[in-house]
């Protein structure tokens, strides 16, 4: 028996063989660690929150009238997937909007093509690059008139400001604090912002966000993205889409 092999109180030396009496204990510790790691890994994974119903789909094409403000929209006139009159939000791929391509096409009949994402009342098409994704319909008859905004009154709503692309299923989950920086990058890149309300207005919980003057929201909303906030503004209907024209000064963290 070596000096390290004291039966009553075994002494471990790293460069020597572990004392015999210590080995069962160390084997038990190793086993417990394996059970701990396996168990915690399972529980942490199995209890992940539901990212919601947002989902994507195969590439779609649609024809319709483009509206530029507050964010590029398409009032569908012809499509296999969407009924005529349906309102589609438009964004680019990844964290890019399509304002640069859409600015010259306001009120014109266009063809769009890209990957659809949808959640609840929100339908968005993530357009392919260049004219493959957005192009003017040549030799088309005059574009039909777009639906006029219908005011639904002034509302104070509680909910979360998200980027429309991720919340609709481009990322799962596409909401919440862990996703906050990503949502900010999307909004900075021009992706349409969406307000997810805790209470429905006219049966709908998802609203395209706009500034009080009807234009795009300012960077003032960025500090309020991905947290539960209260905000006041006008709600109006454009086709099947509700637009929430918020007063940024009324934004506050929900109590």
């Amino acid at each position: 028996m070596s000096d390290a092999e004291d039966r009553s109180d075994p002494f471990f030396i790293g460069w020597a063989a572990a004392p015999g009496r210590l080995r069962p204990f160390l084997a038990g510790v190793g086993l417990c660690l394996a059970v701990l790691f396996g168990g915690v890994g399972y529980i942490a994974a199995a209890t992940q929150a539901d990212p919601g119903s947002g989902s994507g789909g195969r590439r779609e094409t649609a024809i319709g009238v483009l509206a530029y403000d507050p964010y590029p929209l398409l009032y569908v006139t012809e499509s296999e997937r969407y009924p005529a009159g349906h309102t589609l939000l438009l964004s680019g791929n990844a964290k890019f909007g399509v304002q640069d391509r859409a600015s010259a096409l306001d009120g014109r009949l266009v063809q769009v093509s890209g990957g659809p994402v949808s959640r609840g009342d929100i339908d968005m098409l993530r357009l392919r690059g260049g004219t493959n994704g957005l192009s003017l319909v040549e030799d088309a008859p005059e574009a039909p008139p777009v639906p006029q905004p219908v005011s639904l009154g002034r509302w104070r709503l509680t909910g979360e400001i998200c980027d429309g692309q991720c919340v609709a299923g481009a990322m799962r989950p596409g909401t919440g604090l862990a996703h906050r920086a990503c949502a900010n990058l999307c909004l900075i890149g021009g992706v349409p912002p969406v307000f997810v309300s805790t209470a429905a207005v006219e049966g709908e919980e998802f609203f395209l966000l706009a500034d009080a003057d009807g234009g795009p929201v300012t960077d003032a909303v960025l500090d309020h993205v991905a947290i539960l906030v209260e905000v006041e503004g006008e709600v109006e209907r454009r086709g099947n889409l509700l637009v929430f024209r918020i007063d940024p000064g009324s934004l506050q963290v929900a109590p």
Binding site: D6, G14, L22, F25, F37, A44, F96, M171, C182, I188
Partner: protein, 347 residues
Amino acid sequence: MSVKYVPVQWNPNKYVYDAVLLVCVVLYIFVFLELGTADASVTQPINGAIVRMRAFGSCAFLMLSVILAIGPLARLDRRFLPLLYNRRHFGVMTFAVALTHAVYVLGWYFAFSPTDPLVALLTANTAYGQVLGFPFEVFGIAALLVLAILAATSHDFWLSFLSPPVWKSLHLLIYPAYAAVVAHVGLGYLQDATNPAFALLFGGAAMAVGALHLAAWLCCPAEPTVADEWVAAGDAGDIPDGRAVIVRLSPSERAAVFRNGRTLSAVSNACAHQNGPLGEGRIVYGCITCPWHGFQYRPEDGCSPAPFTEKIPTYDLKLEGRTVLVRRTAHPPGTRVEPTPLPEDVA
């Protein structure tokens, strides 16, 4: 112990230690990705990149919690000392797992935008003035940087280059790093978790680390220091053969009085390697042996046996009856002090 620097001084115990670690990490990642996520109640599948970043992030947190639990566990129960032996490999592996988490985060949440991912990491959220929505990523960055520094300086070369006290102080940064990780998770993912299970696991791990440190501190209170030149170390008969008693000489200095057969010798309680508690070690093959990494010193002069070159300070001893007294002033490391014979009436 080594007379030259090599990347890793492998031995069978280190192979076993690292193998157990690898099994635990692989098991965690596999169970998280393949079993747990499949059983999660979701309407649509969670993105693979997000699942992977969660798997590696939570694994790194668990590893860090276990690392910090080892120290107090070993103090409360000496049978846990072998876990401390190769803890540096545990730390390096934790850094690798945490880095993998960070790479997934950068390549997903901060990619695909007009802004460079590293720039976006620091600029996408600047709401430093609010608690809810605070840019929790900065805590993760801080913790990862600390883990990187600790991993990079974990080798014995840096221990020797920086000196054990400086190295030890540097590596105590693991505590603020752990606090940063707690803040990173607490202000980030935890806010999104709807099931209380994760909060219980996360809070339980953090509280267990805190409770173990408190328990270790309570069970081993600091002994009072006396001002005399000679400090009593207790009855000579109370020192078992091959073991030591530890005596506090000043708030920052302790001596270990070892019994080696029928003689007594006093040396510094701090190992020259990592300041390990020599007084909790044993005399093995005639040498004082550190309980942390097995560094060895001769009791009579504090020198490591050839070819090793480590040295520790030694102290004068005297007996008043059966009471052992240690002189407060240390001799320079490696100074020979003639061992003190035990009193005749000590068995």
